[in-house]
Subunit: 454 residues, 2 copies
Amino acid sequence: MSKKNVPYRVYLSEKELPESWYNIRADLPGLSPYLNPKTKEPVVPDDMKAIFPMALIEQEMSDERFIEIPEQVRELYRSFRPSPLCRAYNLEKLLDTPARIYYKYEGNNPSGSHKLNTAIPQAYYNYKAGIKRLATETGAGQWGTALSVATQLFGMECTVYMVKVSAMQKPYRKLIMETYGANVYASPSNQTQTGRSVLEKDPENMGSLGLAISEAVEDAATHEDTNYALGSVLNHVLLHQTIIGLEAKKQMEKIDEYPDMVIACCGGGSNFGGIAFPFLHDKIRLGKNIEILAVEPAACPTLTKGKFAFDYGDVAHLTPIIKMYTLGHNFMPPGIHAGGLRYHGDSALVSKAYHDGLIGARAVHQTDVFKAAVQFARSELILPAPESAHAIKVAIDEALKCKETGESKSILFCLSGHGNFDLTAYEEYLSGKLTDVEYPDEMLEKGYESLPTV
Amino acid sequence: MSKKNVPYRVYLSEKELPESWYNIRADLPGLSPYLNPKTKEPVVPDDMKAIFPMALIEQEMSDERFIEIPEQVRELYRSFRPSPLCRAYNLEKLLDTPARIYYKYEGNNPSGSHKLNTAIPQAYYNYKAGIKRLATETGAGQWGTALSVATQLFGMECTVYMVKVSAMQKPYRKLIMETYGANVYASPSNQTQTGRSVLEKDPENMGSLGLAISEAVEDAATHEDTNYALGSVLNHVLLHQTIIGLEAKKQMEKIDEYPDMVIACCGGGSNFGGIAFPFLHDKIRLGKNIEILAVEPAACPTLTKGKFAFDYGDVAHLTPIIKMYTLGHNFMPPGIHAGGLRYHGDSALVSKAYHDGLIGARAVHQTDVFKAAVQFARSELILPAPESAHAIKVAIDEALKCKETGESKSILFCLSGHGNFDLTAYEEYLSGKLTDVEYPDEMLEKGYESLPTV
């Protein structure tokens, strides 16, 4: 089956936009509840009311298999969705592989990534709850950009705490958020008690994601009209992202295809869950024979070297304690270029699926990742984000295996975003300055030590 | 006619990709020939053989109305074309206008603009002629990026002379070209006699587009295996760009629409000619009542304040002398942010159409342009290039006129590229630092003085 008649881009009409998100909680029995960080008792909805609207808390805990997408969200989705499913003919030719490579491209929107898929419904539900402002943190900047856009659409304010070192390294990211109307503060900032106390001790502190989360959560918890928004990890975030996989299934159906493999990079797990869960549904409920792979950096090997344990989501112990694969919340990954994949933990849903053997995981090195990224850019003409390039690396590996075996597998991966704001990383790679980092076991051990006893 | 059922995005299938470009020369009788810069006699094909392949020289001079797009070019177009025609529902809502606003979005490709539409066929014809390398200049960087991508697709080398001040202001643009395999030299460079002689006199010279053109032309003329490629102005460039308007016509037909107005920004004229000429065909040959507007910066008012005269395309008098609207080849426009619109002249075809009263022109100020750009970004979710935002500004003006008169005009404009690499310009605007520049008449007079006598 060569599928030679498949077009380069498979589109869906706006009428074919899915009407519901898929909630994998319904098909993953045995999930552990979140624990309250203070009492270590299971979290109840009221525990989260200070920073989330009830509609999102309900989605976080719902066991309904399909959850309807509100019409107003669908309306806003329509200005950039359905996103195209692309056949990578030029990459296939370059690799001389019998594999059929497909990718779902999520970079064609102003946030430049899949993050807008959840930013819009999060802004929507908060708006409906009368919230005037959302506070969030951003590292790589894609999430902050997406939330800036989404809040703008509902006339809400947006406050972004951007890790100071990122704000300095990526001035364009700060500028695009401001263009979309957000207030961006380098974190640690003078806006919160947390930030001020850090700056008092260390005025030169360059910040961290953990610290920025604490600032955003404090901001939300201490202002009546303000809530907090998170760009990954949580169940409702992954729920919203399933629009990616649901569309991909429809698109593949249109060309009489079905993937043998689904591949995505995995940081907190939102683009991975987004493309993979609708196919995982078929594996769990319909017995489909399909291999699903999460790809992570060797420098932050959460699934491949982490422990399946209860842990905090942040350094300051403000978030719920979640049963997940984790390197320990004190684990500090090195400064690799895939900023979106530098998280110590993983979504509870992705972790459970991995623990149950439903999905696989691979850890890859960043020099290999950039080699794959450049191969992709020069053949498929899209400059991938360093995060997304992790998926490309493994898709290429698998396509080359097909070349050896002669198999014509159908490989689908998620191209979660473009790399227009990551060009300094490409420069480092092309000039031979990029290096690989792998954590020695004793340093991993140190991270594990921060795991709480529950 | 409210056209409420029009989707946000109108797509064409790849099968509907136009098979021919439209050559407006067939419908613009009375065009003056190019003159040889040395002899001032009409140019003959042999005059251009040192730097262009014969296929492109033929297209430059052809009077055939439709010219077939080679299958290999169509194949490569398919990885990013047909481009979407978008209905600007959110902008319409923001403006509260009865107008129906459409835009053709050309930014969804790695060059980030329409430039790839001509870079690919130019690389193709040179490749077929046995050329191993293309040399070009770039200012804003969009053309250099497009040619880097296109040469890469044919395994050719690419040398880009980038105006030094741009290379310093826009490091990301240099990096993206290098990622796509090009060799980028800040101009003036040590690569050419022209560059070296400038540097000898003035080592700190920051370059200009005219100088970069001279370096690229010299490079091409002095190397057997190397040709020159230009990103705008010439007939064959505008010919290739008509793919934009030809697609737009098909897309509007699908939704039972036809524009009352077509608007595009105009620097050398390539995106303007690209979207406008297929509609101008209908105006000339079918008597369609349609208003076509070219928009230029008030700081470089070529059509609105220039003279219709013979002039050189560059400072060094290496290019043919062309009958066009021009401010004089010594006119030095101020450093406005729409780098792609800072050219003293205009395409001969656009100039003739304007001279014959077939199209209109407007000059706008950059603060108004950025205001329109931010309105657009915050409603339509795409960050426009400063060049493209000139078209947006006039489209908004026209839509607001409709609000006053109650007319429901159908307005189509070309969104020729995204502004991801232009964020410092947005910052300047948002922080209130952006200013307007208009040339006093005596400075315009000085430019006119450089017009040659022929």
